[in-house]
Symmetry: C2
DNA sequence: CTGAAAGCGCTAACAC
DNA sequence: GTGTTAGCGCTTTCAG
C-alpha cells in the first residue's frame, strides 16, 4: 500500500527558507536560535502537524529510547503488573517498552532477546528461564554491551543487576506461618523452575527445621505451575493414611487447585488443612476460600528494575556497578489459613474460638534461627 | 556510558573484500550471488555474531515491522489476552508489538498514539476511549495513512476496520439467561464507558421487553468497573422494599463485588438473586460463587485484528476495504445463576428440584424478537 | 554476478 | 545565530 509522505524537517526548512539544522535545533531546544525564527519554525510545525521521525533520530543518535522487556508470559498477573510498572517508570523518562514473551522456552528467549537487540533497545529487562549464566547467550549479551537487568529469577553466574524477592525467605515465611497456625504435617507443592522453586523449597525446609521438626521428602511433590496441575498433584498426594494439616504451594494457581482437591475429598480448609500460596494474584480475596498468600511486590520490582536500567543507560561513564535489589515480600493472611488459636480437635463447622488452647511443644511467636 | 561498536555490514564486507551491497544481498536472499561468496559471507557473519541493525534497515525501507498496540490497561486479563494473541500472530509474520496504555485517559491515548506513529509503527491497533470519530485525533490518523484497526470498542464515525464482540447481544444474552432462570426483577449494574456500556444496557432492555416485561429505569445503576465500585453500587441499591432476583453486571469484577454485597446482606446467590457478569475473566470458576459470565473471545479478537492489520500493512495496493469482524461471544454458565427450574418459593438451602414449576406468562426457550 | 552512487530523515561538529 | 559538511547503517537502483 502506498503510504503518504509524512512531512519532514526538510519541508519545514524549505517553507521557511532556513536550513534543516535550524529546524532540528529548535525542536530539540539546542544551540542558539533567535526567538523570531524559533517561533516561525514552531508555528509551521504545528500547521503541518509535523512529527519528528524517531527512527531517523535513533539512527543518528544511536539511542532508541526503547527498553526491551522479555518475560515468560505477560498474561500472568504478576508479570503483567511488573510490565505496567516498568512501562510507567519508563514513560516518565521518555522511554517506551518493547515487550516480548517466550512461554518458558529458553530457545525462544534467546532468539527474542537477539531481535530486541537488533532493534537497538537501549537496555533489556529479563525474567530469564536460562539455567545458568555461563552460557553463550549471556556472553553474547555481555559482548553487546547493552545494559540489562534480571528480574524475579536470579540466574547463577550472571554478571548483571538483579531485582526481585528473596525466594528462600518466601518459602520460610509461608511455612512458618503454617507452623504458627499449629500445622505440623505440612506438604509442599513445588514448582518447576529450577532456581526459584528450589529456593522456596529450601525456605520450607529451613522453617520446618527451625521448629525442630523433620522435613519429610515425601511431603514435597511436583505440582507444575497451574491450577490444574496443582489439583492433580494434590489429589495424587491425598491418602487416608497420610497425615496432613498444611500445604505450602509454590504459587496461587496451584493453591486454588489444591484447595479444590482438598475440599472434594472432604477436607475442610482451613480447619483440617490450611493452605498458603505465593504471588498474591488478583482476585485472591474473592476466591471460594480466600487465599492466604505472599505478595511479591511486582510494582517495586518493575519500578526498581526500570530505574536501575535507565540509570545505567543514561550514565555517560561506563561505571557499571551491578546492584542487587531485594524488594520486600509480605504475608497477606486470608481465610485459607485462619485457624490461629485452634487445635484440630476443637474444630467444628461453627466457630468455637474461646476453647482453643496451645499444647506444649508448639512454640509461639518467632521460632529460633 | 560508552557502548561498544557493534559489528556492521561494512566490517564483514571489508574482511571479505566484497562490497556492502553484496553482504546485504546475501543476508536478504536477494539478487544473484554466487554460492561461494554467499557461504563466505554467512560464515563470517556467524563468526562475528553479526546482527543487522534493524533501525538502519527501517530507515531505508520505511518499514519497522512493528505494530503499535494502544490499550486502556494491559494489566486487565481481557486486554492482556488480546495483547498476547496479537503478539503471537505478529511474531509469526516477523513483527513485534509496541504496547502502550492510557488508563482510560483520552488525552494520554492521543499523545501515546502520536509517539507510536513517530516511532513509525507500520500499523496501529486501538481499544480507544475516544467518544467520537470526527475528532482531530482520527483526522490525524487518517492523514498519516498508517493503517489502524479498532478493537473491542467501536467508535462512532470512524472509518477503520473493527474487531470485537457485539455488546448489544452480550447484554441481551446475559439478561435473557437470567429471565430463563426465572428471574423477573433484574437489575443492571452498568459500566462507565459511553459506547460499550450503553450497548449492553440496550441489550438488557431488549431482552426484558422481549419477555413483555417493563424495564424499570431505577433498576439500572452506575457501578464503575471495579470490584469495589460494584460492591458499593450493589449495597446502595439493596433495599428491603425493592424486589430483586437477578443482576446483570457490566463486567466480572463488578459481579464479584455485587455478590459480596448480596451475601453480606443475607441474600443467597443464586437462590435469592442470580448474578451474571461479562468478560469471563480468569479464576472466574475458582470464585466463592463461581460466576456465570459471557466470554468475549479475546484470542479471536487479537488474532483477527492482527491479521486484518498485517494484511493492510503488507498489501501493495491501496485498497483499504474497511472490514468489521464480529467475534463470537458465549455464555459460560456457572453456579451464580444455576437455578434453572426453581421458583423462588421452592428454594431451600438444600436442593428441592423436582417440585419446581414454571408459572404461566413465563415463556420458555427463545423469546420472540 | 558484483559494486558504485544515492538516499532514508535526522543529528553532530564545526565554520561563518 | 545560522548553515555547511559529514555521517548513522542500511537498501535501492542501475551500470558494469
Amino acid at each position: 500500500m502506498l503510504r503518504a509522505m509524512a512531512v519532514k524537517m526538510a519541508d519545514i526548512a524549505a517553507d521557511l527558507h532556513v536550513s534543516v539544522v535550524t529546524v532540528s535545533k529548535v525542536l530539540r531546544n539546542k544551540g542558539r536560535i533567535s526567538e523570531s525564527t524559533r517561533q516561525r519554525v514552531l508555528q509551521r510545525c504545528r500547521e503541518l502537524h509535523y512529527q519528528p521521525n524517531l527512527i531517523a533520530r535513533s539512527l543518528a543518535t544511536r539511542r532508541t529510547h526503547t527498553l526491551g522487556l522479555l518475560l515468560p508470559d505477560f498474561t500472568h498477573p504478576f508479570f503483567a503488573q511488573i510490565a505496567k510498572s516498568i512501562a510507567q517508570t519508563a514513560r516518565a523518562r521518555g522511554y517506551h517498552v518493547l515487550i516480548s514473551y517466550f512461554d518458558e522456552d529458553p530457545a525462544i528467549e534467546i532468539s527474542e532477546a537477539q531481535t530486541l537487540l537488533a532493534r537497538c533497545v537501549d537496555g533489556l529487562i529479563l525474567a530469564s528461564a536460562q539455567s545458568h549464566g555461563r552460557s553463550e547467550f549471556f556472553r553474547m549479551l555481555a559482548r553487546r554491551r547493552t545494559p540489562f537487568v534480571l528480574i524475579d529469577r536470579h540466574v547463577p553466574g550472571v554478571r548483571a543487576s538483579f531485582v526481585g524477592v528473596d525466594h528462600v525467605e518466601i518459602g520460610r515465611m509461608a511455612t512458618t506461618h503454617l507452623l504458627e497456625q499449629g500445622c505440623r504435617h505440612i506438604a509442599h507443592l513445588r514448582g518447576p523452575d529450577l532456581g526459584i522453586a528450589d529456593d522456596r523449597l529450601r525456605g520450607y525446609r529451613l522453617a520446618i527445621e527451625a521448629y525442630e521438626l523433620r522435613a519429610i521428602p515425601d511431603y514435597v511433590v511436583d505440582a507444575g505451575f497451574q491450577t490444574q496441575t496443582g489439583y492433580d498433584a494434590m489429589r495424587a498426594f491425598l491418602n487416608p493414611r497420610i497425615k496432613l494439616d498444611g500445604v505450602f504451594c509454590y504459587n496461587d494457581p496451584i493453591a486454588v487447585g489444591a484447595i479444590k482437591a482438598l475440599r472434594e475429598s472432604g477436607h475442610r480448609v482451613p480447619q483440617d488443612v490450611a493452605v498458603v500460596g505465593a504471588g498474591n494474584v488478583n482476585y485472591a480475596d474473592a476466591l471460594e476460600v480466600p487465599l492466604t498468600s505472599i505478595d511479591q511486590s511486582p510494582d517495586e520490582i518493575g519500578h526498581e528494575a526500570a530505574k536501575l536500567l535507565l540509570d545505567q543507560v543514561e550514565s555517560e561513564s561506563s561505571r557499571r556497578r551491578n546492584r542487587t535489589v531485594v524488594v520486600p515480600h509480605r504475608l497477606i493472611v486470608r481465610a485459607s489459613t485462619q485457624r490461629s488459636s485452634l487445635r484440630r480437635g476443637d474444630l467444628r463447622p461453627g466457630r468455637k474460638l474461646g476453647t482453643a488452647l496451645r499444647r506444649t511443644g508448639v512454640r509461639v511467636g518467632r521460632p529460633p534461627g
